[in-house]
Symmetry: C2
Subunit: 454 residues, 2 copies
């Protein structure tokens, strides 16, 4: 009987890939208002798919921003209920000129599917939809009960998802949550993620004169906002990569020697090779693996002020802006960290300029789950079986804020079953997803859903 599900996916592989490419062709960039209609269209794609395969009560839920798609299929009597979460929005694709093929015209090259969202997260969401389709078409039913939420605002902070979760706790009751929005430590290496970093951020603008000024006529009279911002930003971090904000590390769990060893043994990518940097630069006192997996970070995501064109423009810029985000670990409260940074900046604001601080509206605590939980073990086994290799257990530096929300609201285990690879170029030009991870991943999902049903 189950064999039919596998066969169905093999027999319909081309059609399903074509359908995935259709999904990826929609430029559902949530951060840019220009793409509002496209984001909506991607939502409709998901909703229509769910309806087509027999989900009940499929709805496009309006929010203050981009809508979310909710659907349920609850006819697996006696079986557990999963709350599956994913997102259909994507990161911006700029700089476009660095893509080898159009980010929204999916192309298969070298066994990989290239497109914005191929890995994060449309490709992985689609795999679940395809597996649901296969179960319905072959067995006429799913092995477990499914409640599914696919949102359109993950890349901009899920502002409207959280109120929806909080207001619909009864409707959303489930035995566990499941998310496929992460990756493996290396291609072909089944990986069980048992910890994620939290997240917080803010934008700071230094305002100087009310217009750009001639640097000869005004240099010596007014504070240069770019220089002022450089001083402020430089003050946030020591050159040894330690964050210099007072209190930033308060409450951070010390790393146990055994965990350090596990982390340092985990196969991770060769960052010098994959990113082209001259050398890696972890926090003083920690290895790269430890810093990435279990130490908090503070990054400047963007900084700009003044002239950026060709040649010289001899001005004192009117203002300068920096976008700052942190990745947090257990023991750090995002709101407290945000406040600490804001206080740090405000107390150091030099005279002659004014500071405008915009806190990121949403943030998330870090998350850790017990790696011995039966569901986690079933997920690890399903991965190992399909990929024919033992699963490793790791923590990673990425943030999936919804994990913390699901954890806190529903008090259920959250299983992170990710199929991406470090070469996927998430948030970068030439995002891709390897087709053998797609194929084996479908097997993992069939295995896992069947295992959980019993």
């Amino acid at each position: 009987m189950t064999q039919d599900v596998y066969t169905y996916l093999q027999d319909n592989r081309d059609n399903l890939l074509k359908k995935l490419e259709e999904f990826l062709s929609i430029p559902s960039i949530s951060t840019d208002r220009t793409y509002k209609k496209d984001v909506l269209q991607a939502g409709h794609f998901v909703a229509d798919y769910l309806k087509d395969i027999g989900f009940k009560q499929v709805e496009i839920k309006e929010t203050g921003g981009h809508p979310l798609v909710y659907g349920e299929w609850l006819e697996a009597e006696g079986a557990p209920t999963v709350l599956f979460y994913g997102h259909y929005d994507v990161q911006p694709a700029d700089p476009y000129e660095l893509w080898d093929s159009d980010p929204f015209s999916p192309e298969i090259r070298d066994g990989k599917l290239f497109a914005r969202g191929a890995s994060d997260d449309k490709g992985q969401v689609f795999m679940h939809l395809a597996v649901f389709e296969a179960f319905m078409k072959t067995e006429g039913k799913l092995p477990i009960n499914v409640k599914i939420i696919i949102e359109g605002e993950e890349e901009i902070g899920s502002e409207n998802l959280y109120p929806f979760l909080a207001e619909n706790q009864n409707m959303l009751t489930a035995d566990f949550a499941l998310i496929s929005d992460s990756g493996m430590v290396e291609k072909g290496q089944p990986t069980m993620l048992y910890g994620l970093k939290g997240f917080t951020g803010l934008e700071v603008t230094v305002q100087g004169p009310n217009r750009d000024l001639h640097s000869g006529l005004y240099g010596g009279a007014v504070k240069n906002p770019v220089m002022a911002l450089s001083h402020l930003i430089a003050s946030l971090k020591h050159e040894n990569e330690q964050v210099a904000v007072a209190g930033f590390y308060d409450g951070v769990e010390a790393l146990k020697e055994e965990e350090r060893q596990l982390m340092n043994e985990a196969p991770i990518e060769d960052y010098v090779k994959t990113t082209g940097v001259p050398t890696t630069v972890p926090e003083e006192g920690y290895t790269v693996n430890e810093h990435i997996m279990a130490r908090p970070t503070l990054e400047i995501n963007g900084l700009y002020g003044g002239y950026q064109g060709e040649g010289t423009k001899t001005i004192i810029p009117s203002s300068a802006t920096a976008k700052i985000t942190c990745r947090l670990v257990p023991g750090q409260d995002p709101t407290v960290i945000q406040d600490l940074i804001i206080q740090h900046l405000k107390t150091r604001a030099p005279k002659g300029v004014t500071l405008d601080v915009k806190p990121e509206p949403l943030s998330a605590k870090a998350y850790k789950v017990d790696p011995d939980h039966p569901l986690i073990q079933k997920a690890a086994d399903s991965l190992a079986k399909a990929f024919n290799k033992e699963t490793v257990f790791v923590r990673l530096g990425g943030s999936i804020p919804v994990v913390e929300q699901l954890d806190q609201l529903f008090k259920i285990p959250v299983v992170l079953l990710g199929f991406g690879t470090p070469e996927d170029n998430l948030h970068s030009p030439n995002e891709s997803f390897p087709l053998d991870h797609y194929d084996k991943g479908l097997d993992v999902l069939i295995n896992f859903y069947n295992e959980v049903a019993h």
Copy 2:
């Protein structure tokens, strides 16, 4: 006889202003290759004007970049020869949205002519052309011999002017040089500029990973280029506005108490009011007047790296770039200063990134002229007569690199006869030029040319 010249300018005021507006309508932005044809068109405007009023040997001299216009009229037997210099190129006009009228559709409001280049320098160049026209039409000749160079690359460093000057020293021999590319300390206050700052600059790029990276997956492994650049830029200047580059102040002339007093008595604009800053911030140990007129400065003209769009993009940017320029005073060699800054940056470059430093190809020493020179006194008297107010003598922070070149090559006095005002918004949105300065300035030029003839 001379009265006719004044009358001619009064009678033809409307036509001449229309002609100036035609000149200002040409977007001759030299720094942006998109405007190459417009820059050429502005050159033709000047050449055609000179030909129309009877200049001989008017030529558009091709250079490696934008051409320069040369013309002569040498029939004032026995009278001295002036080498007049100006520029027909302009600064970029962005940000366009901050202009109240189109920068290249000149508009008269509140007694001012608004347009990019109205004051710097098309408007002031045009005044000389109009006065030459008036002399030719009324007296059939000019009071002195004129050699005129109007270039199209002043705003990008005059790279091709200097070889032209050096290679044509015989052709360009003159008794003195004259430039109208500066301003008065306040509107209606005749001002004799006897000193200018020098100039040097460079662009520095910090290169990190070969693409923007996901801040969660790579934060902790690679050096953030924006953070690295912020540290480097912050290290260039102390918070008390002193430049922190070793050797930067070596050789700078100490300010004499009498000069300090003169500077502090000079009427300068109320910077808090005119620029909107909370307070002025001069170098420690100096007043704003002293810092602007006679102390060297280092400014960041632009800095950029990473995401600048709406919302959040959680990346580690691939690179970051800063544009740096300095204004120099007598005793500082631009090349030495450039090298000191480059060394400062290079020795501080952190591991994990590479540094690419692009020195500005051209720079200039500061310039000071003897305020008691007869030509300077005649210029000051002409100003005082037309504006009906005593002329003040000042040094200013702006740089006119050609002044140093003319000084060194030709060993002749350079007279700086500027008609701009501090409210002209040079290099900024809403550049303007007051019409009464235009009108009185024409009288100054007639006075001055007549005075010099004797």
